[in-house]
């Protein structure tokens, strides 16, 4: 199995397409960091304008933690599209170049074949997030330094002390890994049904876009299906950055406002992964491989 995964990883990282995602993340991250380095104060003034009508805010608002949060807000919406480029190509790519039938002549089971391919996809996904963490968090801390994190929600403001933030990012990235693996599972599942990569990639992107729109629209009809859409749960990483308060309205360091929501989202996402991969294995075992 380990050799199979190694082979799949070799194939993934030997394709130039793989590095598009890494380059895109690096470019976007550096552009945002550069912009905030030059005009960070103006950006903070714009974002905090409503709050500043009533309050005087003093301190280093634009710091590494804040920049990373801005980057995650921007990028974690688009990273699924980059993951689809690889995940949706995993089986259909082999079918396209005619190697699928050849591979299955080897003495390995179809289940092992699918699992090895999916694990390799997961490793690629996690590598992409580690890359994002290095650039988005560590590089931002290096450039902007650390400080308290001041976040604006729709109806309230959250201030986190700097010694209570890093573990939240660790949690958020781990959560994002599960969320992105779910996206990978969708792409991987769709790649089963085509003999070229374009179809599954476009289909995965379309599903992400449509489901994201359904998740963000507050209409009673959509509210019924929202809890079951994986896109609703992709943004739950933000819950790591909301903190509990006691009766005196004092924040409780090390707490999360709504841990149940994180657990619920993780359950839904993991259920999606298990169901999609199980169906993929089930169909693939019975599939007549012609290419």
């Amino acid at each position: 199995m380990f050799t199979l995964i190694q082979i799949e990883l070799y194939k993934i990282f030997n394709r130039p397409r793989t590095y598009i995602a890494f380059i895109a993340i690096a470019a976007l991250t550096i552009i945002v960091q550069l912009g905030l380095k030059v005009d960070g104060k103006e950006y903070a003034d714009f974002v905090m304008a409503d709050l500043k009508n009533t309050f005087s805010i003093d301190g280093k608002i634009i710091n590494g933690y804040f920049v990373c949060y801005v980057l995650l807000q921007l990028l974690l919406v688009h990273v699924p599209l980059l993951i689809a480029l690889i995940a949706a190509d995993m089986i259909s790519g082999e079918a396209n170049i005619g190697t699928l039938r050849l591979l299955l002549t080897k003495p390995i089971s179809r289940v092992q074949f699918i699992i090895a391919k999916f694990i390799a996809t997961c490793i690629y996904t996690v590598a992409l997030l580690i890359w994002l963490a290095i650039l988005g968090l560590l590089l931002s801390i290096f450039i902007f330094g650390t400080g308290d994190l001041l976040l604006l929600k729709n109806n309230y403001v959250v201030q986190l002390q700097q010694n209570d933030i890093f573990w939240r990012y660790t949690g958020a990235f781990l959560f994002a890994a599960i969320a992105m693996i779910t996206v990978a599972a969708v792409g991987f599942f769709l790649s089963l049904f085509a003999e070229n990569s374009i179809g599954p990639i476009v289909a995965t992107m379309s599903i992400i876009i449509v489901c994201t729109i359904l998740s963000t629209m507050s209409l009673p009809l959509f509210n019924l299906i929202k809890p079951y859409l994986f896109t609703t749960h992709l943004v739950t990483w933000k819950e790591f950055f909301d903190i509990k308060i006691n009766n005196q309205n004092e924040t409780i360091a090390g707490s999360i406002q709504n841990p149940a929501k994180i657990i619920n989202s993780l359950t839904v996402l993991i259920a999606h992964i298990i169901i999609l991969i199980s169906i993929t294995i089930f169909i693939f075992k019975k599939k007549d491989i012609l290419s």
Partner: protein, 230 residues
């Protein structure tokens, strides 16, 4: 009978003038006491109790320099103070000029009998519309101030004294105010989830905010660089 009535009226006016002069004297005595402090650097803790702000208790350093330079810095952090928060500094409140002073009797604050003095600005452009002070006349300490401003609404400052009462500097200041509506566009917050919105809306009906500063130490009259206030 008419003469008696006239005499009573004169006595009433005379009493009012005397009381007003007493209030001015009292206020001047308090001013003189506070004016002994040219500058101070104080350290303490700040607690923000505002319905829609989840903020931690943080260590703060407060700088003051006469006549009204005031700066509050949160150690390695971000401080959120209500506008008009400069008035958390008692020196700025008491060193007011061009005010009409009205003595409004006595009131008990924290089991202490205080003199209630109302200050009305003579200048119409002044942001302060009305300010009421409750002064412990025996110890020459300001115990409470209620100020109504044109721009920032009404706020109340409660002061408790301890080790530094001889300088008129409080150990604890509680700054109470009415909060305004807070609502951010979703496009800015990127929060598309409506969950918890109702609960927060209910909480926000209580639009009272409070900022407490508990001072531990004061360094008085040791000089402060003006650059700190920039």
């Amino acid at each position: 009978m008419k003469k008696l009535g006239f005499l009573f009226l004169i006595l009433l006016c005379f009493q009012s003038i005397v009381f007003s002069q007493d209030a001015t004297t009292l206020l001047n005595k308090v001013k003189a006491k506070i004016n002994l402090v040219n500058d101070y650097t104080a350290t303490g803790k700040m607690k923000t109790d505002i319905t829609f702000i989840k903020a931690p208790i943080g260590k703060v350093t407060v700088y003051f320099k006469k006549p009204n330079k005031f700066k509050l810095k949160k150690e390695n952090g971000i401080s959120i103070l209500p506008k008009g928060g400069v008035s958390i500094n008692i020196g700025a409140i008491i060193n007011v000029e061009d005010f009409d002073i009205i003595d409004s009797g006595e009131e008990i604050i924290d089991n202490t009998i205080t003199r209630k003095i109302i200050l009305l600005p003579k200048n119409e452009t002044n942001d302060v519309a009305l300010s009421t002070m409750y002064i412990d006349a025996e110890k020459l300490l300001v115990k409470k101030v209620v100020t109504t401003t044109k721009e920032n609404g009404t706020y109340q400052i409660l002061l408790s004294y301890g080790n530094y009462s001889q300088y008129g500097l409080p150990d604890k200041v509680v700054f109470g105010f009415n909060t305004k509506d807070y609502k951010m566009p979703k496009g800015i917050t990127m929060e598309f989830d409506d969950e918890g919105k109702k609960e927060m809306r209910e909480k926000m009906k209580n639009k009272k905010g409070k900022v407490e500063i508990m001072y531990n130490t004061y360094i008085i009259n040791k000089g402060i660089n003006d650059a700190i206030f920039n």
